[in-house]
Symmetry: C2
Amino acid sequence: MILEKKKAFSTFAVSKGLRSTRQRDIILDFFLSTHQHVSVEELYLKIKATHPGIGNATVYRTLKLFVEAGLAREILLHDGQTRYEHIMAGEHHDHLVCTGCNAIIEFEDETIEKLQNEIATRHGFMIRSHKLEIYGLCVNCRK
Amino acid sequence: MILEKKKAFSTFAVSKGLRSTRQRDIILDFFLSTHQHVSVEELYLKIKATHPGIGNATVYRTLKLFVEAGLAREILLHDGQTRYEHIMAGEHHDHLVCTGCNAIIEFEDETIEKLQNEIATRHGFMIRSHKLEIYGLCVNCRK
DNA sequence: CTTGCTGCAAACAGTTTGCAGAACT
DNA sequence: AGTTCTGCAAACTGTTTGCAGCAAG
């Protein structure tokens, strides 16, 4: 699965005439090995620990490439940082965000997806993507 | 309905020991008279046109009060600005966001809300709020 | 008179950009 | 060699904060 993504990016890079560089490889490796919802800063710091030479601008630039390449998606939670999540082929998951401990639980619901399509159709809208976030308290934080 | 909101804010202000100031009145008036999804900057500029003395910091501060008071809700779209929308008593609407012309169409779907509650319950999660945004192209932009 | 509120400007945080040198092809 | 990519630092953008003066209670 990680290999698939690497291949996907490489294909994208070739088709766009982009070069394959050490930095992009490293950033892709780290991105693929992180948990969901990394912020750029988080990823940058993690990388910097073992690869001090890398600049944060490169991480910003490269993550945008991943989005273009269809490997990642930008998500905005309420913490002032842009986060990126992995895109798994075809599927889309939504989030339960705990405002107590910032935990993020993922879920998927086919019926909701279906309803969204209906709504979009009703408004003559062509869906490209969507985002559903539910805020509240998780089991542990409810007490 | 505008009166209700003014009353609601005034009640909130009293209960919190906040003062009633000319600026807060003005900002509330302008906020109530705007379309949905104003950004702070937009609101600030609109106010400044007729009330040049007002600083943007005050607008920022005041909008946060409105959120606390339950009159407004912060929403994050993908344009790098924090926007605020009106909260109508009880109801919650979601958004179809057109990536072509930035139009925002609102909708409401009870079934989706219900499903969200089920999902939350299944995860032991207590919902406080949620946000659903569907991105795509509106009728006009599909062409 | 006391305390909170405001406007201003400076400070901040996250992100983007210009540029000279390094690295890919 | 030619061109893209990188790292650095400076620039930007949206937002927050410190503070002296102003105004509400």
